[in-house]
Point group: C2
Chain length 336, copies 2
């Protein structure tokens, strides 16, 4: 058995071997009362020699912290969230924190239940990667829990927040299409009022304007994030008398639908129609032709959320909040 | 603020309102000493009325249980694991347990670190969905922690274990190909000595034998689970003088490589070559032609692991261990 896991070694045994009181050992463990550096090192050395394993619950009770962070995600089966979780785990794991996972928080009841459980379990921090951070944050902070929001929702005052730059994502994709050739670039957007569709539409419009292209409402068709929606929207665009020769789709799944519609009319991609998506889903690289897309840096977003959370835990609730935009990357493949 | 989250309500206040001693309230909370059912109900009713929120750490310390289960996974970015995690969370969440997530345990050091942290955090149970369950299980059980292994590794004596039936997966896929027409069915396997490749090769051989097909070593080519490996293996098969008209690939990614090789030679799928994979990755439905495959029931595997763990926690270490095989499903699409 590994020496670090001897359950038999007690605080009393550590105190005796280190020639200090049990109270001093407790203070070293809890970190709540000052202990001289020499004493602290001596006690820690003895603990290591004896293979002392403090009771986690007792430590947590004394220090009133769990060294746990709740990760509340909308849908863990969306490949964005596992990478986010991995980045978070790496960032906070080095500081001794573990991740408590709450999936399925797309449903408001599930999100609320997750927040309540996180409070009841006395986690030290929560990373909310779902809609509803605005409602949850005050509850969590009132319970003394640090909060970091993730995603492209509206900014919440005083809330630490990490996201991709959705407007710049669209801007970069559309600029790529426009600078590769003299093209008429359309866009298939998400639902126009919701995030991140609204930001991505703004990025499209700004890129078109910056390249001196007149705004043409015919070139903007709303999709619904699905393959069928992308296909229907593309059909509308291909029915235009002056049809587009390139399309920026606000996600990869709609881009795959756009390819369906293009192939259905015998168009060659990218020669007759160039297509760019967003997300870099696994299928993007596996399709024929493979899909040019923007990769959302989910791992980096998770890491950054973890770093913000550790900063918040170190600095306390009074420190000013921060909003960090994480850089995406353009993955140029065959479709555009 | 929600009434369930009043941090101010103390055990003393509950005791006073319920007209019992503080000790009795503690016993109701810990469940360690018998309390009459009438008293217990009365105390619980008062707790609810007052919005009493017991200190989780104190409860955990008294009851010596954390109501947490560690999930140790090989690679959370493989879509199998998020679904597994979801199934586990659903199964144990109803019983009041939370999931503590440990990703990246494909590396032996990461797996060992996860096991140590799980012990140190005094989780009640561990679900190990990675290689190395054989080594980790004794350490965990010595620490009084329940263990359930997930995956198609070799059975460990006395270990609760859930997996897909990898031999039957291959058997069903190959039988599907053979019963749809008079076909010469090849297989692209995983590395032959490792799980689940070995089991899937056995299933192929058994299905061929059951349909009266003579064994032909030329029809069996080893892949390495990658797209390029699948493509190379398919090229070898297509160079045979009597080339196969169908191929069972031990995973979808190799099947996509097999399609690359087939299209490279101008073959029509499924008319000239039928292709079946395993996994039902997201791309399987998005490809043209879409890929016929076997779906591994990851959600159900996670749920079953959770149920086994709850049973083990209820019954103690002495109860006999169980191995449960979870049913897969054949998803017939265009490729075969």
């Amino acid at each position: 058995m590994h020496s670090g896991l001897k359950p038999g070694t007690t605080i009393a045994a550590v105190a005796e071997a280190a020639k200090v009181s049990k109270t001093t050992v407790s203070h070293v463990l809890s970190g709540k009362r000052p202990v001289s550096e020499a004493t602290r090192r001596n006690v820690l050395r003895v603990m290591e020699e004896l293979g002392f394993q403090p009771n986690y619950f007792a430590q947590a009770l004394i220090a009133n912290r769990s060294l746990a962070v709740a990760l509340i995600v909308q849908d863990l089966t969306n490949p964005y969230y596992p990478l986010l979780g991995r980045g978070l785990e790496r960032a906070i794991g080095q500081a001794g924190y573990v991740v408590m996972l709450f999936d399925g928080a797309a449903q408001p009841e599930a999100a609320e239940a997750a927040v309540k459980t996180a409070i009841q379990r006395r986690v030290d921090g929560v990373v909310i990667a779902t809609a509803g951070a605005e409602r949850a944050a005050p509850m969590l902070r009132q319970a003394g829990i640090a909060v970091v929001a993730v995603g492209s929702g509206p900014s919440v005052a005083d809330l630490d927040w990490v996201s991709a730059d959705d407007e710049l994502i669209a801007y970069d994709a559309v600029t790529h299409l426009l600078t590769r050739g003299p093209r008429r670039v359309a866009t298939i957007t998400g639902p126009a009022n919701a995030s991140p569709g609204a930001q991505r539409l703004r990025g499209y419009l700004r890129a078109m304007a910056d390249q001196g292209k007149p705004e043409d409402q015919n070139l903007i068709v709303a999709g619904d994030w699905t393959r069928d929606g992308g296909s229907s929207a593309m059909s509308v665009l291909l029915d235009l008398p002056d049809r587009p020769t390139a399309v920026f789709c606000a996600n990869d799944v709609m881009a795959i639908g756009a390819l369906d519609a293009a192939f259905g009319r015998g168009l060659r991609v990218p020669y007759d129609l160039a297509v760019v998506g967003v997300d870099d889903i696994e299928a993007a690289a596996l399709l024929r032709p493979s899909l040019t897309t923007i990769r959302i840096p989910a791992l980096e977003i998770g890491r950054t959320a973890g770093a913000l959370l550790l900063d918040r835990l170190a600095q306390g609730a009074a420190a000013p909040s921060r909003h960090i935009l994480v850089q995406h990357s353009l993955i140029v493949r065959e479709s555009g």
